[in-house]
């Protein structure tokens, strides 16, 4: 079980939105993690600097929150390591071919009412729900 956190989740979601708006306003870029990350895998794109800085910030923020405030950020990964590797490989490849993930399609693309992003988001939300249902209720866990 995880605790239902409507206010904290709404605050966090609003910060994700703020970051997406600022990245467009200052850099003219979509805040999609798959796109930002894939251009950092060699051969590097020529504008790798801002991408690397964004990722350093994204990794640093949780560490700073924990380090400076002592607030505990809940984390629990129930998936065994071999399945983390399988899941990581197909999530990465799928998001690359699908031109985006939850941040790029689900937030930025949906906010622009892009037809491709709406279709992509509905597709991966459905596919994730089916996968979770099969793992938890059909085969009874990994």
């Amino acid at each position: 079980m995880t605790e239902f956190t409507p206010w904290l989740s709404l605050l966090g979601g609003s910060l994700i939105g703020l970051a997406a708006v600022l990245l467009m306003a200052f850099h003219g870029r979509i805040a999609g993690m798959t796109g930002i990350l894939s251009a950092l895998i060699p051969p590097l794109s020529s504008d790798w600097g801002w991408r690397a800085a964004f990722i350093v910030g994204a990794i640093g923020a949780p560490a700073l929150i924990v380090g400076l405030t002592g607030y505990t950020i809940p984390f629990e990964s129930p998936t065994p390591a071999p399945w983390l590797i399988v899941g990581g490989l197909i999530a990465g490849a799928g998001a690359y071919f699908g031109s985006g993930c939850t941040s790029g399609h689900g937030v930025c693309g949906m906010a622009r009412v892009s037809p491709r992003s709406i279709v992509a988001t509905l597709t991966f939300m459905a596919s994730t729900a089916i996968t979770v249902f099969v793992i938890r209720h059909v085969i009874g866990g990994l």
């Binding site: 966090g12 306003a25 994204a58 990465g92 071919f97 459905a126």
Partner: protein
């Protein structure tokens, strides 16, 4: 240098949002999708908050001529629904459903220091790299046939 510092600060805001919202916690993400079991609707509030702020913010930002550090807004222009979009998104969902990690959630999760996030991100980066090689190979073959 200002450009790099700006991206760093925006990355910090993004990472803080992900961490506070619960998106960096795979168990919480998986519970959102488990309506038949231990359902936790929090993720709907994350998506709702992010979407409202982004939609309103974009309408103001995109009225401007250009972003602060660039000459134009880099906006995707394609509108066609093709097979890679559908198949790629469906496959991405399977990976998300197995692990509870998505790219935007997993990168900030690295900052929490748990090895699970590093195992996932390492594999995800390998997945993106392999997919990029596959796409370039397919494109090269298609070009070869055309000649």
């Amino acid at each position: 240098m200002t450009r790099i510092f700006s991206a760093l600060v925006i990355g910090l805001i993004f990472g803080a949002g992900i961490a506070l919202s619960g998106m960096a916690n795979p168990a919480k993400v998986l519970n959102f999708f488990d309506i038949a079991g231990s359902w936790d609707p929090s993720l709907a509030f994350v998506m709702g908050g992010a979407l409202v702020v982004t939609a309103i913010g974009y309408t103001f930002v995109l009225k401007r001529k250009a972003p602060v550090f660039d000459r134009l807004f880099h906006l995707p222009t394609r509108r066609d629904i093709d097979l890679p979009l559908l198949a790629g998104s469906a496959v991405f969902g399977i990976g998300w459903g197995i692990t509870g990690f998505c790219p935007g959630g997993a990168i900030p999760a690295l900052g929490l220091g748990y090895s699970d996030a590093w195992v996932f991100v390492g594999s995800m980066v390998a997945g993106i790299a392999l997919a990029r090689i596959a796409r370039h190979t397919m494109a090269a073959r298609a070009a070869g046939k055309a000649v």
